[in-house]
């Protein structure tokens, strides 16, 4: 243990001195976690030290595999099967005034009293972290009965009180609701309510907002901050997102490969990072551009465009005989991708952004009246909606797609060579040798070695898999690439690399991109034009730099305000988020509308359109 501590590099000794006055709430020393047994197992976390004062927020930052989540779970001793704490102490001084106790040495029943009582935890995916078979009230009340003397109606009252605190509009209804009846944001609020219902001293939040939309994330982060102040709660925030850290944390622990590489105040870490890894992390975090040259104007030479694009789905009938309600996923969208340019479509989940791509590629049929056109390098204009048979197949060879999840989109039973040559086989292009040579060439292009062609996808990391997906999309020499959230399943540093690769390929091969993302900051660098979508409609569209520097629509402003950045001088602007993140009815004039009464797009600057009443 002592040697572990000696081995640690660049641990800043900040904080220790000023803490001398009072005992820390939690003091972790030499924490080690092992997977497997003592002889053959592997240490995934070792020599982790940190401490936490009452009411303080400590962020544990790192990428996947850094051991940050395991460290958090080790404190509560809820490690997954096969993992065990191998070393260290975690002295916890609860509110009860007893002398600090070592969490890692408590008996099982004492530990159960701590879990959910004085230390609670919330997780990344609020849907799968809540039991789908029990009501929110049932799951919350369980914690109350376990840790307090409250019984009967008093339990329910306590739950309702907390539901109100975490911002449920109708606590009584939430009590009887099942998780699948709530939106993602409300589900995470329910998790937070469950964690706070017994008034803990410490809450461990494991990537609490990673699965949420940016505007929802901003609101949930604000909620955690507010509750923390009200209840004197200490928070350990486990996250990969330095933007979230900048907005939440007092102090930061940076982890890499199971070890702490740097500790310090948020200000120190973000503004004067000591370790190279920390600097790399900060550099990789996507940021909104400032002061790039502005390209005014519309799309001069469109390669792929859509007009009057709508899609209506039949909803589920509410009863026998009742008419099925219509769900309008996309309404009257007009969109154009310029040749050699990147058109980004940005919106939160359910905004219809992915549906647009499906409609334009004819993976789904648009409503009648839609017009989709493609004008390839040969100068011939194709009416995509009228294509069928061989013409449609030929069109699909010219427009390829890169999917979101590189783990699901590559067949685990096919070697990379087969994955790459499959499109050529399907379209009957080239001979066997030619296909192999092309596969090798594409591997080099995306920065992988052709020697790895015989390997299977599981041998590659997430970022490498996404490179393979890109190589596959490029095999048919397409003119346009549709990228559907290609980086949202990746770590930030890997994301930055993949984005750089896409940019390089576009400029080198003269590609055009239709880039779909939920995150404005991701597209900021790559996109030439951006369309922001909300509820099936484009609310603002324009040249990227113009849109970022002079956003007009309240929803665009909310998205920008809600994007956390690792910059202490640019905190989340919650007022702006609140103004634009709600329903169209709640937007200020002249942007507000209700139901189908949306105003048209108005050109406020050359090529810059905003949906508002003129």
């Amino acid at each position: 243990m002592a040697s572990d501590r000696a081995m640690r590099t660049e641990t800043r000794a900040s904080g220790r001195a000023e803490d001398g006055a009072s005992t820390p709430l939690l003091d972790v020393r030499g924490l080690g976690v092992r997977f497997g047994d003592r002889r053959t197992g592997m240490e995934v976390v070792s020599g982790v030290d940190f401490h936490l004062m009452r009411g303080e927020t400590l962020a544990i930052v790192g990428e996947s595999g850094s051991g940050k989540t395991v460290s958090g779970k080790a404190l509560l001793r809820i490690l997954p099967k096969g993992a065990s704490v191998s070393a260290g102490t975690a002295m916890f001084a609860g509110r009860d005034g007893r002398p600090p106790r070592d969490l890692l040495a408590l008996s099982r029943s004492d530990m159960r009293a701590v879990r959910g009582g004085s230390i609670s935890m919330i997780f990344q995916e609020p849907m799968s972290s809540l039991s789908p078979l029990h009501t929110i009230g049932d799951q919350t009340a369980e914690a109350v009965r376990l840790h307090t003397d409250l019984r009967g109606a008093a339990v329910r009252d306590r739950c309702l009180e907390v539901f109100d605190q975490v911002g449920f509009p109708d606590p009584a209804r939430a009590y009887d609701a099942y998780p699948f009846e709530l939106s993602g944001g409300l589900r995470q609020r329910a998790m937070i309510a469950m964690a706070l219902v017994c008034g803990p001293d410490l809450m461990i939040a494991d990537e609490p907002t990673t699965a949420l939309d940016v505007t929802t994330q901003a609101q949930v982060l604000d909620l955690i901050k507010r509750l923390q102040k009200d209840m004197g709660l200490a928070v350990i925030l486990v996250t990969h997102d330095l933007g979230v850290v900048a907005n939440m944390a007092d102090r930061v622990v940076v982890m890499r490969k199971g070890r702490v590489v740097e500790t310090g105040t948020t200000e120190d870490i973000l503004e004067r990072p000591g370790h190279g890894y920390t600097r790399a992390l900060i550099a990789a975090a996507p940021e909104l551009p400032v002061g790039k040259p502005v390209h005014h104007g519309g799309v001069p030479d469109p390669i792929f465009w859509a007009r009057n694009l709508s899609k209506t789905y039949a909803g589920r009938r509410s009863g026998i005989g009742a008419a099925a309600p219509e769900i309008k996923a996309v309404r009257n969208v007009e969109l154009a991708v310029g040749r050699g340019e990147t058109m980004a479509v940005v919106g939160e989940s359910g905004s219809g952004k992915s549906t647009i791509a499906k409609l334009m590629l004819r993976a789904e049929e648009p409503d009648a009246g839609a017009e989709v056109g493609f004008k390839g390098a040969d100068g011939e204009v194709l009416d995509v909606t009228a294509l069928s048979g061989a013409a449609l197949k030929a069109f699909r060879a010219r427009v390829q797609i890169v999917f979101q999840d590189p783990y699901a989109s590559l067949s685990p039973r096919m070697a990379v060579m087969d994955i790459l040559t499959e499109p050529l086989r399907v379209h009957g292009k080239g001979g066997d040798r030619e296909r192999r040579e092309r596969a090798a060439e594409m591997m080099r292009k995306v920065g992988l070695s052709p020697e790895h062609l015989s390997r299977f996808p599981h041998a590659f990391s997430g970022g490498q898999r996404q490179r393979i997906s890109i190589a596959r999309a490029l095999m048919l020499e397409p003119e346009l690439l549709v990228c559907d959230e290609p980086t949202s399943a990746l770590d930030v540093s890997v994301q930055a690399q993949v984005l750089a690769l896409l940019k390089e390929l576009r400029d080198e091969m003269g590609l055009s991109y239709l880039f779909i993302s939920h995150d404005l900051t991701v597209v900021a660098d790559l996109a030439d034009r951006v369309a922001v979508m909300r509820r099936g409609r484009i609310v603002e569209e324009g040249p990227a730099t113009l849109l970022f520097e002079n956003p007009q629509h309240p929803y665009t402003r909310a998205l920008i305000a809600a994007s956390p950045e690792p910059d202490l001088s640019r905190r989340l602007d919650l007022a702006a988020v609140a103004r634009g993140a709600g329903e169209p009815e709640t937007w200020p004039e002249p942007f507000a509308y209700s139901g189908d009464q949306a105003p048209g797009l108005v050109e406020v600057a050359p090529g810059h359109f905003v949906r508002c009443a003129a």
Partner: protein, 340 residues
Amino acid sequence: MAAYALRRFWTMLWTLLLVSMLIFWIVNLPPGDVLTNQIQQLQASGEAASVSKARFLMQEYALDKPMWEQYLIWMGFWPGPHGFSGILQGDLGWSFELDKPVGEVVGEALWMTIALNAFAIVFVYLVALPLGAIAAVKANTWVDYLATFVGYIGLATPNFLLALILYHKGAQWFGLPVGGLMDKQYADQPMSFAKLGDILVHMIVPIIVIGTSGMAAMVRRLRANLLDELGKPYVTTARAKGVSRVNTVVKYPLRMALNPFVADIGNLLPSLVSGSVLVSLVMGLQTIGPILLSALRSQDYFLSGFILLFVSVLTLAGMLVSDLLLAVLDPRIRFSGRRR
């Protein structure tokens, strides 16, 4: 919930109608059943009396009518030679082989079959549930290996072999009565408490024999399902709340793992019925299994048709029960028909 149940019941009725058509078609498919043979012989003899008897038989069983009309008459949707008289009216038809009404042939065996299979299902669930749950929670320990071993033996042993073993050793070791479903002295007696008790004791061995392989398969499935569920995040949430180990398993993952378990009720029934034919033969049980077998062999189509229809009703009823139970257990299913 009531609407859901009604809707399910409605679907079941339609399915049943379709199944009945299929069954009628299938049992009539092979040529040369008892009745046609008889009629052909009568006609071939050329005697006036025989020819007129053949004509009478043809009319009596509507054989001169087209197939669809025969079906409708059989079901009782259509007036036959004796007015509306089909299955719906309780007239199950005539067994040519045994020269008795089908209702009389099947009679008690019907209730015995229902009782035997119902008990077998209860046995399957009562044993498989704890065994599977323990095997999953204690995965890769000796408890798990023991449960797995018992499960494999149950799966691998043909149930007629198990029947033979218990047939010989059950009586010897445990003093359990074996063979038949009741003592000879009760055979033709009306139902009484003594008879009922005797039947129940006689059922113990058949229940074990019929249920073992289904039970073993279910233990394996429950273990696999529960193992999957145990790794889910909501289990971690429960642990993080400080819920005790046993309660964590019972309240959350076990209930999730129950879904396929409950959905199996419908699938279990037909396999039990058909699987128990051999066992019934070996052990001399008065269930409909052996009757169905001989009826199919001799192409006694009213008899086999009715038994097949009865098994279908049993299956569909099982499905209905499992659907309704699923809706009670799982709010996601309950809500799926409703607008949010």
